[in-house]
């Protein structure tokens, strides 16, 4: 499987480490969120048959975190973004 890194171009998936659902970026605010919010964030995941946004880490490359949109049925990779850009677009990073 080849992941098209936004900066470095096509790279072998063996260079990457898979973390999981990209919704991990959206951690609730520890001071204001309810216990249910944290329960949902910690334990509940969607399991779609289709497009799925995932966090991948380029451990054997430039050590960047990526948000990879992958079709879980065909394994086709639809989109690759820097997790930094995604997080900032969502207002996660000040």
């Amino acid at each position: 499987m080849i992941i098209h890194h936004p900066i470095l171009g096509p790279r072998d998936a063996q260079e990457f480490v898979y973390l999981g659902d990209a919704s991990l970026i959206g951690r609730p605010d520890g001071l204001t969120a309810s216990i249910e919010d944290f329960h949902n964030y910690t334990y509940l995941r969607d399991n779609p048959a289709g497009a799925h946004r995932e966090l991948w880490y380029h451990e054997q490359g430039d050590r960047s975190w990526l948000v990879v949109t992958r079709n879980t049925v065909t394994h086709e990779i639809l989109q690759v973004e820097l997790a930094r850009d995604v997080a900032r677009a969502e207002g996660r990073s000040k």
Partner: protein, 188 residues
């Protein structure tokens, strides 16, 4: 207290760097380069670029390396570079860089974290294709990347068609050296 007299040794454990000549290739351990990583602090890229230009430190683009009169550098990750300088004059490389960059960058001494081997000779892709998935033949001169050799995370820098630098973890220096020697002997 007794006076301990400690002799400096290279990453491979000898008094002087090791040189191996195998067929067309020369594999040279380099102990004469000081290293420091330079990471831009949030929103300070402009300040770092100005300071780097003032001290003659190149900041190459993604996947590249560049040499200056004194300092050289290769790209590690967005807004982060590894800086190389002569060990003889810049053993305390962080102290040399810190006044120029102040609080615009985080500078970390890296000299003793890495072992450096310079591989010289014609037809280097034939040797390195045994060790790494990086397409050295296609890469332009100056290309720099992180890659895996012998299960070790290494930096690979193509200086010219006939000169390549490999940086590997110093604590695995002998394993990496062994891998280079074995690969060279096997493709002779």
């Amino acid at each position: 207290m007794p006076d301990f007299i400690l002799n400096p040794i290279t990453a491979l454990g000898h008094a002087t760097p090791e040189v191996d000549i195998i067929g067309p290739w020369t594999i040279t351990e380099r102990a004469d380069v000081a290293l420091a990583s330079l990471a831009v602090r949030r929103g300070r890229l402009g300040d770092v670029q100005t300071s780097a230009a003032a001290v003659g430190l190149p900041l190459p683009a993604a996947g590249a390396s560049a040499s200056g009169a004194l300092y050289s550098a290769f790209w590690m990750t967005p807004e982060m570079w590894m800086v190389e300088a002569p060990f003889a004059s810049h053993e305390d490389i962080r102290a040399h860089l810190l006044p120029a960059f102040g609080d615009a960058a985080s500078i970390t001494e890296q000299t003793d974290a890495w072992v450096r081997f310079d591989l010289a000779g014609a037809d280097l892709p034939r040797l390195l294709e045994r060790l790494s998935n990086f397409d050295l033949a296609k890469a332009a001169a100056g290309a720099a990347t992180r890659t895996v050799m012998e299960h070790l995370g290494c930096y690979l820098i193509k200086r010219t068609d006939t000169l390549v630098t490999v940086y590997g973890p110093r604590s695995s220096a002998q394993s990496l050296h062994h891998a280079l020697i074995v690969a060279a002997q096997s493709v002779l």
